[in-house]
Each structure stands twice: as C-alpha cells, then as structure tokens.
Subunit: 234 residues, 2 copies
DNA sequence: GACGAACTCGTACGTTGTGCGAGTGGTTAG
DNA sequence: CTAACCACTCGCACAACGTACGAGTTCGTC
C-alpha cells in the first residue's frame, strides 16, 4: 500500500523541540505589554520560555534587535485603507484611529520608538500604503510626504502623551477617579499662581478620562485634516 | 499618587564648599546633551563633579528624580509670547518654533518625557502662558485646552521623529550627505516592491537634511493652525 | 560509529542604581 | 575648650542587568 500523509511519520520539520524567533518575539510582546520596558529582561523572558537566558542569543543578536522586531510587529497591526474604498479624508481618519489604538495596546512603544529608525518590513508596508492613500487625495508630489508625515507625527505625539497619563494612572494603583481627584487637588494646591491652569484642570474632570482623551485626540486630528484639505491641489 | 520631587521641600543652608543641586543639575544637563541618556550614569556624573558617586544622593533622591529636574529645566527654556504682543497665530508659531528648538538642543528629551508627567514649576508656567495665549485667540472654554494640546502634541511628535533621524546621522559617524545617500541606497535595494516609498525617499534628497526637516515641521504646523483658526468662536 | 550542524546553557565579567553606616568638617551651646 | 549636633561625603556591598565564551547535547547524514 502506498504511503499517505497520515502514515508517513513527520520528519522534516522539527528536529527536536526548540526555541524559535517567532516564539521569543511573541512571548516578549506579552511581557512588554504587561510590564513595560522596565519589566523586560532577557533573564525574565527566558524564564517564561523555560530556557536559559543565553539561549535566546542564538535566535536574536541583541536585546535591542529584539525590540526592533517587536516595534515592527506593532507597525504590522495598523490598518491603512485602500484609497478607493473611502475618501482620503475618512481613510486618513481610519488610519489615525488605527495607529492610536495600536499604540494604546502597546503602551511601551513611545518609550522606545524615538531612539531608532523604523525600517522593518511592516514599517515599509505601512509607509507604502500611507503614501498611496495620501497620494490619491491629490497632494502634490512633495506634499504627499509632508501631509502623511504630519498626520503620523500628530497621532504619535498625541497618543504618546496619552499613554503617559494612562500609565501614571495604572501604576498609581488607585482607581481612575481617585487618581484624577488627587491630581486636581495637588494641582490646585500648587497652582494658585496659575489661574488658567487651574481652570483647565478643573474643566478636564467633567468627563471620564477615557472620553476626555479621545475627544482630545479627535479634535486635533480633525483640525489638522481640515488644514491639510485646503492644500490638496484641485 | 506618588509624591514628586517638587512637593518635597528642601533642607536649609550650606556650610563649607559643597555640592549643590543646581550644580548637579547643570553638569548632568551637559552630560546628557553631549552623550544622551545612555551616557548618563550616577558614577560618571559624580566623577565630573570630583565627587563620590553616592554623594549625589544626599542632594537628589534618585536618578529618576534628577531626570525630572532636567526635564523641567528644558521646559523653562521655552518662550511663550504674551498674547497682546502678537496675534495668537504668530504667537502660536513662535511658541512652536521655540519648543522645537529647545528639543533640538536637548535631543534626549523624547526618550524620557513620555514616561512621566510634567508637573514641575517650569512646566506649570509654560502651561499657564500657553493657555493664556490660546485663550486670547477666542477659543471656547473647552477648546482652549484642546487647541493648545494639539499644537504641543504635533510639535513634540514631529520633533521627536526629527531628533531620531538627526541622532542616527550623528551616531553613524559619517557625514550627513554620506549617510543620506547610504540610506537611499539601502532603501532602494529593500523597497523594490514599494514604489511610493522609493519615490518618497528619492524626493527627500533634493535639499539638505536640515531644511528638509524644517520644511516638514513648518508645513504641518501651518496646516494645523489653519485648521484651528476655523474653530475660534467669532 | 563518526562527523558536523543546530542548538542549549552555566559561568563569568563589567556596569548599573542605590542602601547602609561610618566618617568629617563647621557651627553652636554650655 | 569641650561636646554635641548638623550638613554633608563616600567606600563598600548587593542585586540586577546585557551578553561573550566555550563546553555540552541532540540531531540528520554518511
């Protein structure tokens, strides 16, 4: 009888049970998301994989390189719509929101992304699709770059600040409302000389943190897109 | 919420020739500007002050607190014009440029600023003056916060990315043109599948790095301010 | 059974932030 | 003049880190 897939025993793939770069990256991602940059060490990561610390170095050259892989992984999670499926304006909005929520899912990103260039495959794909989207909007050749860069910078800048405050809340251990009210209290005590600041802090508390931050994000993104709209060539 | 370094009061008078917090901050600033975050260690800093490493800890509780002081020092360097001296639009432009150049002077800032809240005295002053400036523009009460936040986020986001590429050039050791052309070469090799990226990279080289980055910054800031302009209540 | 490739990992080195406690010089009270 | 006290300095030590090194183990292939 002829041998079938089922009778043939597996041989090619697994030599023995072994670490893999994918596995390392995935585990590191979980660790990083949960504990932040300070919580990721090669020893801890190895322990989570039931491996010796230095075993990782066979699969990944250095810790920095590992972080590069993780960053590119995040870029891979971001949607950039095709230009024909939506107008550029709503496409850009969608892109912005997708970028924001990816960073919120991986709040360690701002801490590391500004120290290295992003040239991984997912970063390239993201850039390509973004340029296509903005290109279809009718920007002039040079302005495609500028427009897309502005949007990315705005989004990353805003969400970086957003993540910073969210992490403060998380690390404080206390509840969100409690933290906000303590912030207010401290700011009021400190800022008697700064009436505008004081009002601002007070104003910020009428809604909960999450919708406040979202409004913040949307307001500026809308304004920026309005400004960009006037720059498309007719 | 954790107590920050500004809420704790300082002890009293010095007696003999002694280290001082100001001196430590100033020296740390120079070290950080010159060598970046990785180049600042308590031991190196102490050595520059001809002191023992642990002596610093009498003047500054932890390294993180020291960095908080340094960040606030940077906020203190930023100009925010009075609203009556210029229209809000040119005032906001001036503010944006001042913020940008401060970060360019202290390129380590993006690496650390997103990991902590800014509540030092200079941050407060900066916020206050900013709110006054934007308030005079005629934004509604809630939108003052939003508008100023958008501008800050855009500027910080843009300049953070800018600093990242500038630092890449600096650390590469080679000349600027050489670095740019190497980047191009690498990108072309890598991005045959990504025609829009490739064009974009090619386009970016027609001017030198510095004016390219400046144009980049100005373009987005102008667009954002245009968008905000339409939101001031009449 | 021998060989080489593909991995694993214990040990070790240098560097980091910082707690601890002993020391030192200056001012002040008795 | 001595003693107490404060403001300050600093050597030592520890735990944690990234990672170089080289010896060890498990394979598939002759």
């Amino acid at each position: 009888m002829r041998e079938t897939i089922w009778t043939r025993e597996r041989k090619a793939a697994p030599a023995r049970e072994t670490l893999s770069r994918e596995q390392i990256v995935a585990t590191a991602m979980r660790l990083l998301d949960a504990e932040g940059v300070a919580g990721l060490s090669m020893r801890k990561l190895a322990a989570k994989l039931d491996a010796g610390a230095t075993s990782l170095y066979w699969h990944v050259p250095t810790k920095d390189d590992l972080i590069d892989l993780l960053i590119d992984e995040v870029w891979g999670e971001i949607d950039v719509p095709e230009p024909d499926l939506a107008g550029w304006r709503s496409g850009a909005l969608l892109f912005g929101h997708s970028l924001r929520s990816a960073v919120l899912r991986h709040p360690w990103l701002p801490e590391v992304m500004y120290t290295r260039p992003s040239v991984g495959p997912n970063a390239m794909k993201l850039g390509e699709r973004g340029l296509v989207l903005f290109g279809a909007a009718g920007f002039s050749d040079q302005e495609v770059d500028l427009a897309m860069g502005s949007v990315m910078s705005y989004v990353l800048g805003t969400v970086s600040a957003e993540v910073a405050t969210r992490e403060m809340v998380r690390k404080s251990g206390s509840s969100e409302e409690r933290w906000v009210s303590e912030l207010l209290e401290q700011a009021e005590a400190r800022s008697t000389d700064y009436p505008a600041m004081q009002q601002s802090v007070r104003r910020r508390i009428v809604t909960d943190l999450d919708t406040g931050l979202t409004n913040n994000f949307v307001f500026g993104l809308d304004a920026l897109l309005d400004g960009l709209q006037t720059r498309v060539k007719k």
